[in-house]
């Protein structure tokens, strides 16, 4: 509460500062100049008669007294939401009024993801898979944004966006296959669990280094723009990854090169154990956008309709205007960072419980649905049972599958195996044949 008050105070200070500045200049308004790619040399005409700065680097007015801009002059970029924490629509004109089937689909995808998370987390604890990352608390950011996109739109993710894939129809079998690194894995068993990818669903394979996807998304969006197919690219990342240099690079490139791109930042409060006040001192990620010339918004990430509305509008304008948009979805990471993390070491159970019980995207949507008579206790019970069964069937199948053929360790380094790699493969097989009692070849495809 104190935080909210001080934020409001800073906001007020900022507004006063702006008003003071404009008062000094009388009726002159701040000019906005848009820079276009390919602005030819010598287009700037020098008008030395007017008392205006002529610098090519910035358009502004002169000011004759010394005043530093307070960092939070735009502090507390407000959080856009459609539902309150009890799932009630606040402003009816913002209700996207999606049909019942669509909303039920949202709910079922979020809960199916939640169920899969529970089972796979447990399976890591039992030593069946090596590693896992849950999505608890962030399901709204995945489903709301994925639903606002076209299936042809290209997705670059970080690692906590499994719901986007699930929404697009990635089968449970394939999620499991990747986590188990079995012979069904589209990635051929090469990566750690949760590094999903799908060419058919236009979801670029996840990589572990953070934020590397951000400038890549800008490049992809540029190529997509040149294709003229009205596609957009969306790039997900966390508030921690936004500290990387690659994030700065991606933001800057996307605006200067006019890319149809949506930057979607999941601000979930923690980067492993690092809370946001150790990650940045400014007003989150959304406040950085204007610095790059980016259209920016902050939304309630636990409100699936707010996420949906913002993404939908950003998509429409990104395609129409060839400019990038930044959406900062505020949410909370209810689970641990991964199976290698125990978050009780750095945050209280009370804090986690608040978000789990009082402000969860799944329960807020459920309230919305039950209020309309679209869902009830019986259906909830039936769906829980069914979704658990679906996950278990896929799980058991993945457990039984063999691992990929060992030759697949050597393919795809280049488009074609080089002579050197062929030699290394042959050396590997000679070794394995010689010492086969030490190698569990039965677990691998022949």
């Amino acid at each position: 509460m104190a935080a909210v008050r001080s934020v409001k105070k800073l906001y007020g200070v900022g507004l006063r500062a702006i008003r003071q500045n404009t008062a000094l200049r009388g009726t002159t308004l701040l000019q906005q100049r848009s820079f276009r790619v390919g602005r030819a040399l010598g287009q700037q005409t020098f008008d030395t008669s007017a008392e205006k700065p002529q610098f090519p680097g910035a358009s502004a007015e002169f000011i004759d007294h010394l005043e530093f801009i307070q960092p939070n002059v735009i502090s507390g970029i407000p959080v856009y939401r459609v539902m309150d924490r009890q799932g009630q629509i606040i402003n009816p004109s913002e209700d996207p009024q999606l049909p019942k089937e669509t909303v039920l689909n949202f709910y079922q995808k979020m809960t199916l993801l939640n169920t899969m998370d529970r089972i796979l987390y447990e399976s890591q604890r039992q030593g069946r898979i090596s590693f896992y990352m849950t999505n608890y608390g962030e399901e709204g950011t995945h489903i709301g944004s994925a639903a606002a996109l076209d299936p042809a739109d290209l997705v670059f993710g970080q690692y906590r966006e499994a719901g986007v894939l699930m929404y697009r129809g990635f089968p449970l079998d394939m999620f499991m296959a990747q986590c188990y690194a079995n012979a069904d894995d589209l990635g051929k068993g090469r990566q750690m669990p949760v590094h999903y990818g799908s060419k058919d669903l236009n979801f670029v394979t996840i990589s572990s280094p953070l934020a590397t996807q951000i400038p890549q998304a800008a490049g992809a969006a540029y190529a997509v723009k040149r294709e003229n197919t009205n596609r957009v690219v969306i790039c997900y990342f966390g508030e921690g990854a936004a500290s990387e240099g690659d994030a700065h690079a991606g933001f800057n490139f996307s605006t200067t090169l006019e890319c149809p791109l949506i930057f979607f930042c999941r601000n979930n409060g923690y980067a492993i154990s690092t809370p946001t006040n150790e990650q940045y001192r400014g007003d989150g990620i959304a406040a950085r956008g204007p610095g790059y010339g980016l259209m920016s918004i902050r939304v309630d990430g636990n409100d699936v309709f707010a996420v949906y509305n913002a993404t939908k509008e950003a998509r429409r304008r990104a395609v129409a205007e060839n400019q990038p948009f930044l959406i900062e979805a505020m949410t909370y990471r209810i689970g641990h960072h991964s199976t290698s993390d125990d978050s009780s070491a750095y945050r209280s159970v009370d804090e986690v419980n608040y978000w789990d019980k009082q402000d969860h995207p799944i329960s807020r949507l459920r309230h919305y649905m039950t209020a309309r008579g679209w869902w009830d206790e019986d259906e909830e019970r039936a769906w829980r049972k069914q979704s658990r069964k679906l996950v278990m069937v896929a799980f058991e199948k993945a457990e039984r599958r063999l691992k990929p053929h060992p030759d697949l360790m050597f393919t795809d380094v280049y488009d074609e195996m080089t002579p050197e790699i062929v030699k290394q493969k042959e050396a590997m097989w000679r070794h394995v044949q010689q010492y086969k009692e030490h190698y569990p070849l039965d677990l691998y495809e022949k």
């Binding site: 394979t205 400038p215 998304a217 992809a220 690659d246 490139f253 795809d412 380094v413 488009d415 002579p419």
Partner: protein, 409 residues
Amino acid sequence: MAASRLFWRTSGVKSSLTGLTGGVHSSLGLTLLKLYPDCTAKPKTQRRHAAHFTFHPDPVTTQYGPTQKMNLFQSVTSALDNTLASDPTAVIFGEDVAFGGVFRCTVGLRDKYGKDRVFNTPLCEQGIVGFGIGAAVAGATAIAEIQFADYIYPAFDQIVNEAAKYRYRSGNMFDCGKLTIRSPWGCVGHGSLYHSQSPEAFFAHCPGIKIVVPRGPVQAKGLLLSCIDDQNPCIFFEPKILYRAAVEQVPTEAYHIPLSQAEVLQEGSDLTLVAWGTQVHVMREVAAMAQEKLGVSCELIDLQTILPWDKETVCKSVVKTGRLLVSHEAPVTGGFAAEISSTVQVRSRSHESEIDQGLLPECVLCRRSVSSTWRLPSVGFVGMIRPSRTSLSPSTSQISGSASRPSSA
């Protein structure tokens, strides 16, 4: 004296750059010059030493169609021109490429093909390569320029962790094979620490990318076109000292010189010389001097592709000659000569080869092992032969004098 020298030099530069408003500065310089009558118009101490090596052009080739006289940067422009003409998805980007590039490699291309295809990016190498990767993933032929190879390191993560591994980690669902990174490379004489580097060894340790270094304009165009067409991300290092100095008759149409094929430029029987880029021309001179002064017949190989490198050609040559000398500009320790020499050692099943260091500050040569019953190739590598002087160690007389050479393995 030093102060006046400084003013003499800078006033000279300024008067050429600022024709309109340089008056104040050049007159100050001239005034100072007059105050120090010892400064003559052409003082001996103020001449810059030019790099000493001679570019040896390739013989004119007729196999690729009509040719035109081009230097190295023009041959690069020609390759890019061919690419933009034939591939509508191709785009070229980097710092300052729009006006033609700081080395003039992209002159005229923006006017010819449009500002959406040849464009400047912000000053950010990790962004340039990341952007290039993304464009390639989305299906565009992406040709990124890093202004100097010395500045490629911010992009190291994108190159090694992302570009090189894109195909492998995605199970071949995604790849950035359409990415080519071009960058000026190597000593130019005055470049000092940060305009002279040859970073190929850092990248040679990274499977999944290809690294190519041409020795002249004809090779540059053919190899660059091969890199662009290759379905793997490629780094193409362009020896900057050759941009203007290297002139050859270069085919105007598109043609391809295959990657991962080393070229034997000169056959010989006593010693295999391996080099790439600028050093190939230094080694030509070395070969000529060795023949004339020591009666040593050298086989000269231009490696051309550093990764994946043509082990067969090099090993076959060393089997014939029994001796290997690799020359590169980069530092000795962990330099690519270390990879070549260790491979050759392993392949030849040698056990007793001595490496003798420190005969000259820049040269490391190997003496042959004692016993003549062992079939041992000698291996040496030169960390740095500076273009301004080339010299052979006095110990080469031991090499030419020694009795036996290995028969072919």
